[in-house]
Amino acid sequence: MGSLLSRNLRQFGMVIALAALLVFFQVRTGVALTPGNISNIIQGNAYVLILAVGMVLIIIAGHIDLSVGSVAAFVGVTVALLTQSGVPWALAVLIGLVVGIGVGAWQGFWVAAVGIPAFIVTLAGMLLFRGLNQVLGKSQTIPVPDGIIYLGTASVPEVGPNTGFNNITVLLGLLGVAALIFFEVRKRRNATRLGAPIGPVWASVLKVVLIGGVILLATYLFATAPIGRSFPIPGLILIVLVIVYAFVMARTPLGRHIYAVGGNRAAAQLTGVNVRRVNFFVLTNMGFLSAIAAIVFVGRSTSSGAYDGQGWELDAIAAVFIGGAAVSGGIGTVIASVIGGLVIAVLNNGLQLLGVQNDITQVIKGLVLLLAVALDVYNKKQGKPSIIGLVQRGMRRSAGTGETGVVDTTQPAQPAAEAPVDTSSSRQ
């Protein structure tokens, strides 16, 4: 997990921006960093962040999905109606997930098998599933039972002896740190065994201390929060999803294939990637995650409504692009997208705490989106790699020249002169 984090934090600048925003709002309002408020931010935006996790896969593969809000609304109303008709809530949730996967597969079919651009398929889906939501729900609000409300609003429960802390939060935090250390050690051992260059020990230690520190601080914060206000369940769902998807994207052939399809579809095909299967997967997966977002949201709203999900697709897409993904596909990471979503969420929350009117908030959010992406484009034009990339490259270089003679310093690479010129060549 630790290695994943550092490997994927390409948008290191965004992390700094996020921290700066939090500190700024804390100074201005005095309450931004209370556990209650952090919980609010996580609960109030979990659905967007969950959608961003799926959306970044779609955008990396070179597509876009406009239907996520409508699909979520459709799944939400389905689940609500099922529970209303007496189906146990857990079963209803399960059916909801299956419906989500089904809807995703339906859209995936049109994109992958028929070859209609995802933009059009999902535009159709946006209308289709919005309409179905209103037909099924008769445009009315339908309440959901406590089990689902729990998923959307509850915090990690209080279990075991009274230690003055929330025991499960403490346990999860410690497990996280343990996993971080375990994977870092294993990575170093593995690299040493195979003779691959490894960074200096201090770099690994620094990484573990930094990330571990953040985990421990968060753990402490939530473990000491008032009862019933410790780490929110939707946040837990989000963390599990982020870890799973970040891992899939960074470390499995499936992830590589998604990047390959978005980076150069024709080349991917001639490298043995089953492009259709990848397209089908990303859209089906989006349906699945839309369903999860829907359940978390109807839980938080205690009911499904006719306007659920309106504009969500745009929130999710904005998060992904603030997280540094490229419109043309091939670039982006799960973690950066979630951080991008958090930047917007924290900004939103902070401005609300400051009492800034909604209309002004929208103006600010629009400018932030534009600025973040402009900065990214500017950096790419300057040929500057991401800061994390620099750090890692620097580490390997120092290790490489010393131990394995990796770097051929006598032969300078192709002058960078010709590189920036064809930035857009051969993108499909």
């Binding site: 590589r256 001639l270 043995g272």
Partner: protein, 526 residues
């Protein structure tokens, strides 16, 4: 400096000796990297002036400076065109001054007609409204000047690359160009079209048009150039005036690479075994035009340790054959069988083909060969991810070690395997793509134009790699439009014409002439 030679060809020439273009002390830096260092270039009126140099030497940058793609002020030095000092803020201004540049990648819009492409940006209007009658008439006239007899109303995509190139030249003529710059004009053309184009350029020269031609093909330079400037590492190394002596290919190569190349092909003794890969009666339909057969009842075989050449004109069906074998990645399979070591195989997807140990290096490196967003490492392992993963999880260290091994074996010039492939030169990119296929450990490796757009030095190295693959007892299918390459490398050469194998020659009996004859010959009735 200049050598004089007795057998200088006596050509009719329009050159007056007066300079049309003078570039003095051009220095251009990109964020710290010096791409051009004090380069001076003088082009005489009515000359064909060739510029050669390895990829990344700075040829293209020099032309960008000249045409205003790099605006005045972003570089040092001065440009005199037709005696006037010029400071072009953009390409529009250089065009107005009479400089037309024709890029390697054609700037045609495929769906538009020939006439529409011809007048794109300079539409034939009467009071702001396009006058199609005038456009049509002017188009016919312009096309005639470049020897094209095509209907200006047909979509440009229906024309071959060679003809599109001619349309591009016609477009330049329409803009009353005084100086025509051709960047690798024959790179994508077959032998015949190349000859035609070069003849045309010579004609224009005789009519007084000045040309700058950037080319890797030294035999072409030898044929048409009046002067040759060699650029290496951002310096103008040498300008050879042909009037004072014949250009000698070896001399140009020496200037380009800064050393002498003893041979264009590495020393190599083939060790050829038994036939192991056999294709019989291979028939494939065109993907969009079902009545057209792109492969028509073709049969051939490859022996272990053998490099088998495939010669043919562009469009003869060589790439189509290769890709249809490679997991049916082109066209619609109709009939035919394929076998490895006598075992019949029928890979229906690229993935299956890779499993059957077939590899295919595509002709178009940038758009089909790799993902330009990848690093050397990710590209190298991309076709065989299972080799660096366990339990469906990629092992970063393993993948690094594998990529590093191939980087060293192929001597890819890069700062590390984590460098992005976009930043590499063409030759090094090709080595990375080659590494990708070598990493799949294929028994049969199909190489489609493996040295297209690559400079002399890198070519030599890639030839060596190809020979090493064969020496390991694998089979190589080598598709190339450069006949000398086939003759120098292949042990046996098939010729293909119109989707049919029209003949096969052993290395000992093959020559440019015999190959050309077979490439244009009809297959004998079976």
């Amino acid at each position: 400096m200049q050598e004089t030679s007795a057998d200088a060809p006596a050509r009719t020439r329009a050159s007056t000796g007066e300079a049309l273009l003078e570039m003095r002390g051009i220095t251009k830096r990109y964020s710290g990297v010096t791409a051009l260092d004090d380069v001076s270039l003088t082009v005489r009126k009515g000359d064909i002036h060739a510029i050669c140099g390895e990829n990344g030497a700075g040829k293209s940058t020099l032309m960008k400076v000249l045409s205003g793609v790099e605006p005045a002020g972003t570089f040092d030095g001065e440009i005199l065109f037709d005696g006037e000092p010029c400071r072009f803020p953009d390409i529009k201004h250089s065009e107005n001054a009479g400089i037309a540049i024709i890029h390697q990648e054609l700037a045609m819009i495929p769906e538009l007609s020939v006439a529409e492409n011809l007048f794109l940006g300079s539409e034939q209007t009467t009071r702001g409204i396009i006058n199609w009658n005038r456009a049509y008439a002017t188009a016919v006239q312009l096309l005639e000047q470049v020897g094209l007899r095509e209907d200006p109303d047909v979509p440009i995509k229906s024309l071959g690359v060679g003809k599109q190139q001619l349309v591009e030249i016609a477009k330049a003529l329409h803009k009353n160009a005084k100086l025509l710059i051709l960047d690798e004009p024959t790179a994508a053309l077959n032998e015949q079209d190349s000859q035609h184009l070069l003849d045309l350029i010579l004609d224009f020269r005789d009519q007084g048009l000045t040309c700058i031609i950037i080319s890797h093909k030294l035999n072409e330079i030898e044929r048409v150039a009046d002067a040759v400037t060699v650029i290496r590492d951002g310096h103008a190394i040498e300008t050879i005036d042909v009037r004072e002596g014949a250009v000698d290919e070896d001399r140009i190569i020496r200037a380009m690479v800064g050393r002498k190349l003893d041979s264009r092909f590495p020393e190599y003794t083939p060790d050829i075994g038994e036939p192991f890969f056999e294709v019989k009666n291979w028939t494939v339909r065109h993907p969009e035009v079902p009545e057209r057969l792109v492969c028509d009842d073709e049969s051939f075989f490859v022996r272990r340790g053998e490099i088998v050449g495939f010669a043919g004109l562009v469009g003869a069906g060589r790439t189509e054959l290769a890709r249809s074998i490679f997991g049916r990645s082109y066209g619609t399979y109709v009939s035919g069988t394929m076998s490895i070591d006598g075992r019949e195989i029928a890979p229906k997807s690229v993935g299956e083909a890779i499993k059957e140990k077939i590899g295919y290096l595509s002709e178009d490196r940038k758009s089909l060969g790799m993902n330009l967003l990848d690093t050397i490492e990710t590209t190298t392992v991309s076709a065989a991810l299972h080799k660096v993963s366990r339990g469906g999880v990629i092992n970063d260290a393993k993948s690094f070690v594998a990529a590093e091994k191939y980087r060293r074996d192929l001597r890819t010039k890069a700062t590390s395997v984590e460098q992005g492939v976009r930043e590499l030169s063409g030759g090094n990119q090709q080595k990375v793509v080659l590494a990708k296929w070598l990493f799949t450990e294929p028994d049969l490796l199909i190489l489609d134009e493996p040295t297209r757009g690559i400079d002399v030095g890198a070519k030599f190295e890639i030839y060596g790699v190809v020979q090493r693959i064969a020496a390991q007892g694998k089979g190589v299918m080598l598709i190339s439009s450069e006949l000398p390459e086939l003759l120098g490398l292949a042990d046996r050469i098939y010729t293909i014409n119109e989707g049919r194998i029209s003949g096969v020659l052993d290395k000992s009996e093959a020559s440019q002439e015999s190959l050309l004859r077979l490439m244009t010959a009809q297959r004998k009735a079976a």
